[in-house]
């Protein structure tokens, strides 16, 4: 069903630009998605994630740039593209007055599965997404999670090789979110290429093989989640002292060992240093603290998360943490 060769990306965007009036929504976004993998599109609100997805799914046209889905140009061959994509937007694109089954049968018939074919496929999908009991209730009585599952089911009716998911789990409870993740993983295992936008870094970390970070309509970073984490920050050691008056002593000792001034959170009574390399540094720090007579209440190594990467990349103007900083989220 896929148009391109197995080796070429199933979605490819090159230099997409889009203005909404005076606002530049996209300023040259390029990305690639391979079949059977997940590309996570990350970025703060208004970065251009939804605009990118809407261009790739033929809902809007880019002002310039080029994009192909399954080998077809989204601007010139939208009909061919539409035969090969499934789309789950931020808001469920369903008919609230119709039942779940009627929604799927309607859309299935519009996809020319035939009357019987549409009914069969609707039944399959309702079973697969745990909606069998709710199948004959109007969709407007569904919970947010059920609606999202039905929305995803609707976009899978014609077995599309490419799936666009625009913040698919926003507003879902943790259980529904985890269920949706499992479904997405199954689809990817079947060879579907998934382009996923999300605000949840945990979601991208769990699902995405590749991540593209965009901000102000531009790609500011890309790669696998692991490489992004490696590239931006090393692990961080957080030391909590037992008594607040030992904070200065501890700080001095750590400065001597690591050669740089550590970040101090006076309210929490904690200090954090970045670990450059190895356990040697860790033991040196422990010895220095012991030598300075600092009683340590807690010691924890924080691996960098995608969230650290994201904050580092998208908030370059945040105030630097200094020794007299009064807490503040990191």
């Amino acid at each position: 069903m896929t148009g391109g060769r197995a080796t070429s990306p199933i979605v490819r965007a090159d230099g997409l630009r889009k203005r909404h009036g005076d606002v530049v929504a996209l300023d040259g976004v390029s990305l690639e998605l391979d079949a059977g993998s997940v590309l996570g599109l990350l970025g703060p609100n208004g970065a251009g994630k939804t605009t990118t997805v809407r261009i790739l799914s033929t809902l809007i046209r880019a002002d310039s740039g080029h994009a192909e889905v399954a080998g077809f140009d989204v601007a010139r061959q939208p009909r061919e593209v539409r035969r090969r994509i499934g789309m789950v937007g931020q808001y469920a694109a369903l008919d609230g007055l119709l039942t779940g089954r009627e929604n799927l049968v309607l859309l299935g018939r519009l996809l020319h599965l035939g009357r019987a074919g549409a009914r069969t496929r609707a039944g399959e999908l309702l079973d697969r997404f745990g909606l069998r009991d709710a199948a004959d209730r109007p969709v407007r009585t569904y919970s947010g999670g059920m609606r999202r599952r039905l929305d995803l089911a609707a976009s899978l009716l014609a077995h599309p090789p490419v799936l666009f998911l625009d913040e698919p789990t926003t507003g879902l409870d943790p259980v529904s979110r985890a269920e949706l993740w499992v479904v997405i993983e199954e689809l990817v295992a079947d060879g579907v290429g998934v382009l996923l936008t999300t605000q949840y870094l945990e979601e991208a970390d769990r699902l995405a093989n590749q991540v593209v970070v965009i901000d102000h309509g531009q790609v500011i970073a890309g790669g696998s989640p692991e490489s992004l984490k490696r590239g931006v920050r090393t692990s961080r050691l957080e030391i909590t002292v037992a008594r607040a008056d030992a904070l200065t002593d501890a700080c001095d000792a750590l400065t001597r060992v690591s050669g740089t001034k550590p970040d101090v959170d006076v309210v929490a009574g904690s200090i954090s240093v970045f670990l450059q390399d190895s356990l040697d540094q860790l033991s040196a720090i422990a010895q220095a603290l012991q030598a300075a007579g600092v009683e340590v209440a807690d010691l924890a190594v924080h691996r960098p998360t995608l969230e650290d990467v994201f904050i580092e990349l998208t908030a370059p103007h945040r105030a630097p943490v200094t020794t007299d900083a009064v807490g503040g989220p990191r």
Partner: protein
């Protein structure tokens, strides 16, 4: 575009009507109330232009009012679709966008046609009778159906322009009152203030109503100007003109609304 797509989409709206029959009441109620109030309660107080029974005069006017009453519900329907996001779903599918509006207006027309049938039946019960041959009567109803269909598209245009259900409700009511009272639907145009008469004469409602009266052999009020001289040609031209204006306009607005 694909005929079976249009049929499937029409089926969707027919299911809607079954789920929320309130829309039907909205369309049938107004003309029915007018028919009962004027044709039964006040029938003795109203002097018919020319000679004949007032119910005979009134029927065509009330029938055209079904079209005006369809405008608001059609507008609400299309604006709800945009809000629900299902329009985006259709647009990411290999479905011709023309089918979406066609399916909607065909379903709306079927609903309005049932309302017309109900109103006509009540009219027959109150004593309305056509005084011409079957062919003429059928052509009259055909003209009315054309007018109803034009009004469904007018509703779509209104819904795409206004978007908010509350706004649509009040503008829809205004359309209904203004277009039916500034016409020959209930009373003779000659009874209106002189400066309003040309407006009322060219009002599509008057034009269609006059043609129906002629086709059904009902008592007719004299209409000034061209529409009075060529009532049938004027009526068909009006229906065609309305469709020629509203269909492309609706399609354009729909594309623009969906791409926002």
């Amino acid at each position: 575009m694909n005929g079976s797509d249009v049929m499937v989409l029409t089926g969707r709206h027919l299911l809607h009507f079954r789920r929320s029959p309130g829309r039907f009441i909205g369309i049938a109620m107004n003309p029915l109330v007018m028919l009962l109030a004027m044709g039964y309660l006040f029938r003795r107080s109203i002097v018919v232009p020319g000679s004949g029974d007032y119910v005979d005069f009134l029927m065509a006017g009330v029938a055209a009012q079904v079209g005006l009453a369809s405008v608001g519900p059609a507008a609400i329907g299309v604006s709800a679709d945009l809000r629900e996001g299902i329009v985006d779903r259709f647009r990411t599918m290999p479905v011709a966008q023309a089918s979406v509006l066609l399916g909607r207006t065909v379903a709306d027309l079927l609903l309005s046609a049932v309302a017309l049938l109900v109103v006509t039946t009540v009219g027959l019960m109150l004593g309305w009778r056509p005084h011409t041959g079957a062919w003429s009567v059928i052509v009259g109803f055909g003209l009315l159906l054309g007018f109803l269909y034009a009004m469904e598209w007018f509703g779509v245009v209104l819904g795409l322009l206004l978007r908010e259900a509350e706004t649509i409700d009040s503008i829809g009511a205004l359309v209904l009152v203004l277009l039916s009272f500034l016409s020959s639907a209930f009373l003779s145009i000659q009874g209106l203030p002189e400066w309003i008469r040309p407006i009322a004469a060219w009002n599509p409602v008057s034009v269609v109503v006059s043609a129906c009266r002629l086709l059904w052999g009902s008592p007719a009020a004299p209409t000034p100007g061209l529409p009075g001289q060529y009532p049938l040609a004027a009526a068909w031209a009006t229906v065609v003109l309305l469709l020629v204006v509203f269909v492309p306009l609706a399609s354009h607005l729909y594309r623009r609304a969906a791409e926002r």
